[in-house]
């Protein structure tokens, strides 16, 4: 029996808050469902009526370009009505609490919240405090989780390299501040890749990172050996509260992914980045725009994966356990 707040009584996805606690079967179901929606992208008509009559609220307390727009596009392609809350001009800026915002939106009979918040656990808090018929999707909470980003990355990896069990995946850069990296590590290990390797300076790694099921490397050149998938991460300067790095230049010299360093990985390795990219900081432009880069495919796949998550969460109307 599951006690996972994300699942309903039948074990179906009700909220999508974190990869933690979800089975390989469920993650695979998300990827398979996304496959069906991805195939629709080439259709003349890209819209289906699955969520007609449902209202989805995008609640973004932090800035976002890709995540918010692809969530909006995903909801619209499923025929849902979408409400984009601009928090900067909403009552939150007048001091309204998160709980009061939720209560007011509930009173407008909405069906789902897609939430991004600077505080870890915000989406979880909403899921626990919202009406039983409402689903909550985490679009990034603090340094905790960004599960739909991780799933669209898994989808992109599976598209390029279907046999996940043989893959060695390197995640490079600011692991410490990255909710994306945490979700990716959980998803990669749940899906059973051969190895997840994190490559970063000691100051940008969380304490006891090995316990997440990764091998640790502090040297990019040594760390790229035998790697099939390279995930570069943005240096999150806005979350850095102390001097963790000598300089951006120094970081680029040691951990920036350049053409010459890329050659140290397997010749058919793919290069990924969740965006936004700091060109010339964590990745060289020629690599980001090069033939091994799948960065823009990640963005396209974001729509299909979010369509899958939205439709799967809305199909379970029952209460969570």
């Amino acid at each position: 029996m599951t006690t996972n707040v994300q699942l309903n009584a039948e074990g179906k996805l009700k909220h999508f808050l974190t990869i933690d606690g979800l089975s390989r079967a469920l993650l695979t179901e998300i990827l398979d469902t996304a496959e069906s929606f991805a195939a629709m992208a080439g259709n003349q008509v890209k819209k289906v009526p699955l969520l007609r009559g449902k209202t989805i609220v995008n609640l973004f307390f932090e800035n976002s370009t890709r995540t918010r727009t692809t969530f909006e596009l995903a909801a619209k392609r499923l025929s849902a009505d979408v409400l984009n809350m601009n928090i900067a001009t909403s009552s939150t800026s007048k001091g309204e609490s998160l709980l009061d915002t939720i209560r007011n939106l509930e009173a407008m009979h909405v069906d789902m919240f897609v939430v991004r918040h600077a505080l870890s656990g915000a989406a979880h808090f909403m899921a626990q405090n919202t009406a039983p018929h409402i689903s909550v999707i985490n679009a990034g909470d603090g340094q905790h989780a960004h599960p739909t980003q991780a799933m669209l990355d898994m989808f992109t990896i599976r598209q390029k390299k279907p046999d996940l069990s043989r893959l060695r995946v390197a995640i490079i850069g600011d692991i410490l501040h990255s909710r994306v990296a945490r979700s990716q590590i959980l998803a990669l290990n749940t899906l059973g890749v051969a190895e997840v390797r994190v490559i970063a300076p000691r100051t940008l790694l969380p304490a006891k990172v090995e316990t997440l099921g990764v091998t640790v490397c502090h040297d990019l050149q040594a760390g790229l050996q035998d790697i099939d998938v390279i995930i570069t991460l943005r240096l999150q300067k806005e979350r850095m509260t102390s001097a963790l790095l000598p300089s951006e230049n120094e970081y680029y010299k040691c951990f920036g992914l350049t053409q010459s360093k890329l050659k140290l990985a397997k010749p058919d390795a793919i290069v990924m980045h969740p965006g936004p990219i700091n060109r010339g900081v964590e990745i060289d432009s020629s690599v980001a725009d090069g033939p091994q880069s799948v960065i823009l495919q990640q963005v396209s796949n974001g729509i299909a994966v979010r369509m899958a998550v939205l439709s799967m969460a809305m199909q379970s109307t029952g209460e969570t356990r």
């Binding site: 469902t33 069906s36 003349q44 008509v45």
Partner: protein, 179 residues
Amino acid sequence: MTTKINNMPNNFLDVPSLLNALEINLKKLILDRHLNNPLMIGIRTGGVWVAEQLHARLALSEPLGLLDISFYRDDFSQIGIHPNVKPSHLPHQIDGRDVILIDDVFYTGRTIRAALNEIFDYGRPAQVILAVLLERDGRQIPLRPDCCGASCYLEPGQRIKLIGPQPLTLHVETVPTIG
């Protein structure tokens, strides 16, 4: 003629015979309704198998259209979506075309409603006719096929399914009824 399935002759569910009958009925209907260069669309999965046979027999010039109605089902909130839905392949131009929609078994009519919704999302056909291998009882909405290979009644709890693609066979099975 509508036959109760338990009283039917042994060869009643013989698919080649049903296809022969459907082909004859469909050819007549194409003449009666003055269908011009019709476009045939099969509903996945069984309807596509039947449509492939008829498309060859009628020697239609346009490629066969394929329709997957999973995203248009009206029972989505009860049963959810099945992963691995295959994409629909419809021609770019539906407007003004004569369409022959093919399914294997006509039962409640809900699949056809979903199929029509999807087709009309792509354009406005001049006319649509519905041809099915077998029509059974149990309509739930006011839709019915224009022609079929045969019609039958099933006992409560019985259901009929086309297995394929090689060979195509019809199977009757009994599922426990609730209550």
